[in-house]
Structures are given as C-alpha cells and as structure tokens.
Amino acid sequence: MPTITGRSAVDELPSADGRPPLEADTATTGRLGDRIFGGLAMGSGILVITLVALVGLFLVAQAVPSLLNNNANFLTSREWVPSGADPRFGIVDLLWATIITSILAMLIAVPLGVAVALFITQYAPQWLSKPAATLVDLLAAVPSIVYGFWGLKIAGDYFKPVAEATSSVLGWIPFFRWDGTPSAKSTLAFAGIILAVMILPIVTAISREVFAQVPITHKEGALALGATKWEMIRVAVLPFGKPGIISAAMLGLGRALGETLAVTLLLSALNTSDAFSFSVFGGGETFASRIANDAGEFDSAQKTGAYIAAGLVLFILTFIVNAAARVVIERRKAFSE
C-alpha cells in the first residue's frame, strides 16, 4: 500500500540474510539513562512535527486578518496594494510567473538531467563516472544569489539574441511574443533557464540513483537479445527508472517554485495597468521574488499579512508537489522487488 511517508525504522524489511527486522524496542531497559535518552529522541521527533504544524498555523493566523480586509479578490486580482484604507491585493500575476518559470525550468532540466544521469551511470568510462557526478553536484553548491548575479551581469547578455530569434520566428504565437521590453534578462523565459540550471543537480542525483539500481539481469538480458546499448537503455533502464524520473521532476519543480534570490535579481515588477501578457518573454514577479523584493516594507500587520498570505499559497503549492513526488516514490518501492 503506498503511503506518503518516507518510511524509516529500518524500513521493517528483513535483512539480507532473511532475519526479521530488529525489534530493538524490546532491548530498552527501564533504567533512567534509557528513559532520558529515549525521551530526548522522541522529543526531537515531536519537535519536528510541532515545527511544521506551527509553520502552517502561524502563516494562516497572520494571513487571515489581512485577507478579510482585502477588498479585491485574492485569487483573481492583479492589483497589489496591501496596505492603506483600501487594501486590494491578488496573486494571479505572481501565480502565473511562478508556475510558468518553474514549468519552463522543469521542461529544460528534466530531459537534460536524465541524459546526464544516463551518461554518469551507463556511458561514462569508469574513471570519469564519480568525478562527473561530483561536478554536477557542485552546481547545487553555488548559492542562489550568485546564480542571479551571474545571470544579471553576464549570462543575460547572451540570451538577447536567443530571445530575438525565437520571437521573430514564433512571435505570431502570443506565448512567444516579445517587443523588446522587458530586457531579455528580465524575462520569465530567462529566469526559467537559470532555474533549470539550479534544479539540474537534484534531478540528476535522483535519476542517477534509480538508474544505478536497475537490475543487472535486465540489462544483460536486453544485451543478450542483441540490443544496442541505446536499445538496452530504452527497454530496460528507462522503464525501470520511470517512477524515479517522475519524482525527480516533481522534486525539481518544488525546488523551482520556491527559489528566491536568483529570480529576485532578474525579474522586476510589472505595472498592473499593463495588459496581462501570456508571453514567456514577458516580465513579472514570482511569489518568492515579490516577498523578497518588498522585505524591507513589512511595517504594518495588514501589509505583512498580505505577503504572508502569498507565502502561504507558495507553501501549499510546494507541499502538494512534494507530497505527489513522495507518493510516486513510494509506489516504486512497492513494485521494485
């Protein structure tokens, strides 16, 4: 039965030599030391639960009063005037920018990450496999703000010809229309590309792990039937790794949704008077970048509450995506025997 928990407790599986799992609980004595230590361990566990519960509680508690004062529809309005006598704020612009950049990031990072994982596990010569994995992991070690600064000062300038070419060929589709504003490096498309680089390591790491677990017999079977290496990957490795790839994609998506600084440095606020643009070459702010941009202005409870409400929506979004990823991983566990 799939659960949405990353089960632990030695996973209640028999060990390799077929013994039942260790029932360590019975080893506890009633001694003081045992009671204190066991209590501390359980206390830490309970603390973690409390922490998550408190996050939800505090965010809801401080968002609700502001939401009640809100004179615009929170879900459909494009305005953002969170304070004053007539507070009007809505998240539709933020939601659009957040989702489109994250999906774009996923569309780029997942195929690339899977290919890199295949390279590391199947194609790389043995001496290269481990260093290659480390190098890709190091991408995750570059701080978010450095990605943003690099995109702003250096990489962004190289994106301009790409944006021009794309919009001149595909500009008749509203999705790719671009009239030169905002500048190429402030477009949602470029933010999506930077996010793709940032989530590439996590997608690669998870895919790599499942590809490494493909039973050798499956691979040898395919090869023995005369499959080429690519055919072997197609019939043995990819089907086995599919749930892993899906959950890697969703965990990457969860990361991209909440990524803050890289996006904050690149994107800039839109005028709400401008017409809503469906183009990936449009501007806009994500939930995270709006909150970070305005962090210095949390002066009244009403105003803070509006930003906390936006944060709450982001929390719920990432929660759903991560829980879905977890379900997929659990399914795989159930069938991988």
Partner: protein, 306 residues
Amino acid sequence: MSTLSTADEAVATRTVASDAFGRKSGARAVKDQLARALMWGAFLVALIPLVWILGATIVKGGHMLVDADWWGKSQAGITARREGGGAVHAIQGTLIQAGVTALISVPIGVLTAVYLVEYGRGRLAKAVSFMVDILTGIPSIVAALFIYALWVTTLGFQRVGFAVCLALTMLMIPTVVRSTEEMLKLVPNELREAAYALGVPKWKTIMKVVIPTSFSGIITGVLLGLARVMGETAPLIILGPYTAVIATNLFGGLMPTLPTMIYQNYSEANQPAIDRTWGAALTLILIIFLLNLLGRFAGRFSKVKS
C-alpha cells in the same frame, strides 16, 4: 556495475542477429551512436554553467581576495564609489550564523534520526518521517516568513542574527536527519545485538556503538547540510539586514553576511562596488566548496559502507 560496463560494451558493439531486435541494421547502429553522442553532449552542456560561473567569479573577483585588506578590514565608511575595505565583517557574520545554526540543528537532527531508526515504530514515526519530508520541501522564503511571523510579529523582537539562525535551522534539520538516518541504517544489527548480549543498555549502545560507528558519515551530512544553508539568502533578506561594519552580536543590531553583502551591492553601477560583489560571491563559493570537500573527505573515513 564496473565489471559489467566493459562486458556490455563488448556485447553491444558485436553485430548479433537476434529475434527480438532484428539484424543490427545501419539505422540501429546510427541511432545507438547518436544516443551516445547526445549523452556526452548533455554532460558537457551541464558543465558549461559550472565552469562559466566559477570562471567569471574568479576572473572578476579574484583580485579582491589576494588583497590582505579583504581578510582584515570591514566596509566601514567606504562608499560604493571608493575602493578599499574588506569583507571580514561579512565573513565573520556568515561563519557565526552558520556555527550557531549547526549548534541548534545538529542535536535535534541527530536525535530525530536516532528516534526514526532506533526507536520509532508505528504512527508517530510515520508522522515524523513525513514531516521531515515536508520540511525538506519548504522554500527558504517560507521558513523566513514563519520566523518573521513568530519572532517579529508575535514576540515583538527586532530583526537580529539569531532569528536568521532559527530560519536556517529549519532548513538544516531535514538534511541532517536524512543523512544521519542513512548512516545509522548502515550500522550492522550484529553490533547492536552484541552490545545487548553483553547487557549494555540501549542508550549506551546507541551512544557508544551505533553513533561512533557512523560518526564520519554523520559529519559528512552535517557539513553538506551546513554548506547548503550558508548560501541561503532569502532568510537573511527578511530577517538579517546588512551593515557595513563588524557586528558580532546575534541578539541585537544588524549583522552583515556575505549573501547580504552581495544583495546590498548587486545593483550598484560603480566599479568598486561591482568588484566587491564579485569578491563576496567568490569568497562565499570558496567557503561552501571547502565545506563540501571537507564533507566528502570525512566520508572516506566511514567505517560503514553503503
């Protein structure tokens, strides 16, 4: 794995007529080679940003770091137009906050992992494990907003360094729990059973047998977790505003850090400020990479192998 890769190489390149896949036609061979080229290409493409970012930060910020002032002076009294000054205030702030964050999150994280592996059964363990997953997925900005709601709005305190540490703790706990958990699971049950058979109480078994056996693995997890939170900027922007002077008080006043030093200067047009931003970026990357390397190095001494 390793023995197979040479073997399947040999099998794959041999032309075998078979029932399932048909004769190895030219098209199939071409496809195979194309796939191989694509995978190599993907890897090289993935390396571009890493090399590019590192190269750019070193070229643009490297000259700042060779100056002794960088490691010895703060930015006190230095405007965006003026050269000079250093980053020691920000480096100190980053290290202090990281240290305090580790001090809080390592005991909680390790104990939670001990609970999950050694004690936890049933519903509570499932709930804890699920909540750790949720914590893993919490965006740093949401963690920061939560601490803001708790620390500033509810408790009425100022935005100080310690609040940043609390937010970073929330991000670090799940990585410590997960890595420690993996390590504790690798400790063979025979070791525990041997200790119990000698009449050693459970808590002593954990403290003297289980944790020492997996110690270097736990250290690896802690260092990698620390490397992750050190680069986090969102909590700093919301909870720990920048200042140009040396400030080491976690409970009062502003506290500068490397990420906020970058954030402070990133939009400046004056060359000295731009240089400083690249210098701070390079310093931060160096510290984080160093922690990463140390973590991986510590893992080599692990007594248990995955």
